[in-house]
Amino acid sequence: MLKTILICLFIFSAGCGTKKERKEERALTIYQENAASWVRNFNPLSTSGTARWPTSSGIYEPLFIYNSMRGEYIPWLCTDYKWEDNNKTLIMYVRENVLWSDKTPFSSEDIAFTFNLKKIHKGLDTRDSWGYLESVKALNKTTVEFKFSRIYVPGFDAIVGQPIVAKHIWEKIKDPLRFSNPNPVGTGPFTEILRFDNQVWELGKNPNYWQPNKPEVKKLKFPAFPSNEQVTLALISGDLDWAGAFIPAIDRVYTKKNPEHHKYWFPETGHTTFFYTNTMNKVLKDSKIRKAISYAIDRSLVVKVGMYNYTEPAHVTGISGKMAKWHSKDIETKENWVKYNPQLSNQIFDDAGYYKNKNGFREDKNGDLLSFDIIVVSGWSDWIRSAQVISQNLKKVGIKAKVKTYDFGAWMSRMQKGEFDMAIGWAEKGTTPFPLYRGMMSSKYIKPIGKDADANWHRFSTDEVDSLLLEFEKTSDEYVIKDILHKLQNIFINYAPAIPLFAEVSWAECNTTYFTNFPSKNNPYAPLSPNSAPENLMVLVNVEVR
């Protein structure tokens, strides 16, 4: 009896479950975020980052998209902009003939409304726009005027990256902070929620999208995956078309199974993963020592062991890839302290008076051992392996450095409070190296040890930087911008506030069995990763059905 039931179940479920969908029915199946069950939330303004992907870059859209692969702004809901009044006013020209997915025309009023909503609800102002804005007004249907309370040109990025919501809908929402927006009305290529269950949800295309004949894909599908192993399995078995997952040994595990259609592309983002050294530490406060530590690190080994050779050793400026256009011309003549040179490292330590004892470990003048902890997030295996390589490297020059792992919350708290000697971490990101150097060197973020610092965890500052940063905020002149960034680079190279480890790459895989025209090395119109909002909008619009 039981056997019969089982066989029936098997046949029945196999019949409806595993059959391959016909091509025109196939939904573009995507993995972007981990979940065991989905929670319905499509609020693009929510600070908490709890809205389902691609709410802010798929259902809703920004004014411009910064294309990090080409290093330029792509006009989106706006077509052009200009600075006026000595950079105190920014004028945006709004795209015409754009409709909301409920067919209401989109206009400059929606843009002004979105920004003013952030003014009323401080909790929505994630990018602190109202820290430098004075007013946002729609001058006419196609022009918006942003008046600044203080000149702050880098605010441009935050302004153009803002997802715009519909005035006629959101003006009726009493508490936009706590609004989960279950049935979104957007301008984006995909706006229709076709189904929403705890294990899978589907997003259909916007019938009124402003780009003619796009998107070609009819619907997107999001199955819930709680773990990376499940994602890998789904990729291999062809259940996923597009994913942003870290897969170890990807050539053997993924590509080899189907070389024609299983593709991946891990482009450099231009940013860097850093090795932080706490400048409040009595030994590490000396920039010479920080450079000596950097010389001792064999980055090619770190990249090989820690990162499966998916990336490259970092540049001494902390910027690489497309960001390298900001390097100064004479950059090659500067001290390159990210080069592996243990002899030089030893010599610097000797010169500083830290000699090796009979066990081969260095001591200071009082006979105290130089010993540090490298703190890493537990479970982040790539960083843990990298830290272990660094620990071995440092041992070779006589420095004791122990790898310690902490739960994410505890690690973050130690970083912010400055309660660490050494650590591996990320840095501030943006369209120019400005946020990076500001986060690395601005005295504005420095807090005493034990108090939360939002950036500059290693607590480095020098007088020259603050005035340069201020100058940068006031200019929109490409020439001046370059000049300041070159100066900041030189200061960074001079003081080594933090040690660049390896270039950051974005993980992304695709399966071209059912869909084509994904970005790739030969067709780099955007990064492939779905985690690269808002750039992933360009992928959603341009992917084609085979």
């Binding site: 179940l9 098997f10 029945f12 479920s13 409806c16 479950g17 595993t18 065991a36 069950s37 929670v39 319905r40 939330n41 600070t47 908490s48 980052g49 709890t50 401080k122 909790g123 929505l124 994630t126 990018r127 602190d128 820290g131 935050a158 902070l177 706590r178 989960s180 269950d197 705890n198 294990q199 899978v200 599908k221 199955p223 819930a224 995956f225 709680p226 773990s227 192993e229 499940q230 399995l233 789904a234 078995s237 940013h271 739960d407 994410f408 919350g409 505890a410 973050m412 708290s413 130690r414 912010q416 990320w426 840095a427 501030e428 990101k429 946020p435 986060g439 973020y445 939360d452 939002d454």
Partner: protein, 328 residues
Amino acid sequence: MSNSLQYLIRRLGFYSIAAWAALTLNFFIPRLMPGDPAAIIFARFRGKLTPEAMIALRETFGLTDGPLLLQYFSYIKSMFKGDLGVSIAYFPEPVANIISTGLLWTIFLAGTSLVISFIIGTLLGAIISWKRGGRLDSFLPPSLAFIGAFPYFWLAMLSLYIFGFKLEWFPLRHAYSDDVTVGLNIPFIFSSIYHAILPATTMILVSLGGWMLSMRNTMLTTLGSDYITLARAKGLSSWVVMLKYAARNAILPNFTGFGMALGFVLSGALLTEIIFSYPGQGYLLLQAVRSQDFPLMQGLFMTITLAVLAANWFVDIAILFLDPRTRK
């Protein structure tokens, strides 16, 4: 019967004190963890947010540095009203809604496996002890103990790989297939049973040995008692003696264990859920701890606590019926 009533009321009083203590711990323990939720959410963006966003985040979540005691009283008050608050990791979704996305699945999968495992294990235990030293008795306990000794995640991964990925007999993930409509319809019910087979089997396999062994051991003691000898002397059939006389007494300790396990069903089966991508409480709990989502943690712990206490109370009632001594 008034004695029994007194006994039940006394137990109820004890459970309400236990519930209060659990609720209190539930409030304080998460707050001893280092870090704060706004920082964790901020960090999730890995440098893509400006540092000023922290202010906006704290504002959004209404994180206050108010005195702990005041927070505690407002927490107790809202718990009594059944208001579990708003989750931080899934902001602004109410905790109750989030818990409900996986609760039924957890009860379905973990509950069914527990009941099946308990029934089969207890029966097997009774049978093998009856023929002590027989072929079943020398084969089953060591082999089940062997399987039970495997790390669970390894067993589950292996069965997923073999039966799901290689042989394609069972689905690789989820509680139902993507192309059925959720609701009370035949395809959905079939699909969810089909999807539950593999995870449930792995859960039953590892827990079966425990039930069987503890039943076998108490059975052996019981079988030595005088009343069993008497029952046999009366010429009753061996099935009647085994089940009605021996097993009915031997089952008491196992039954208490079952009550405990029933309560813990609600804490979900973390590894099963992660390996088979099954929706449920275990993964939610992990997620809540990782993102320091106090309201969600509290909500989950409270449902678990209440379930454990309620299950125990029901076991108390059941034992009143099973064991006449408690009625005296």
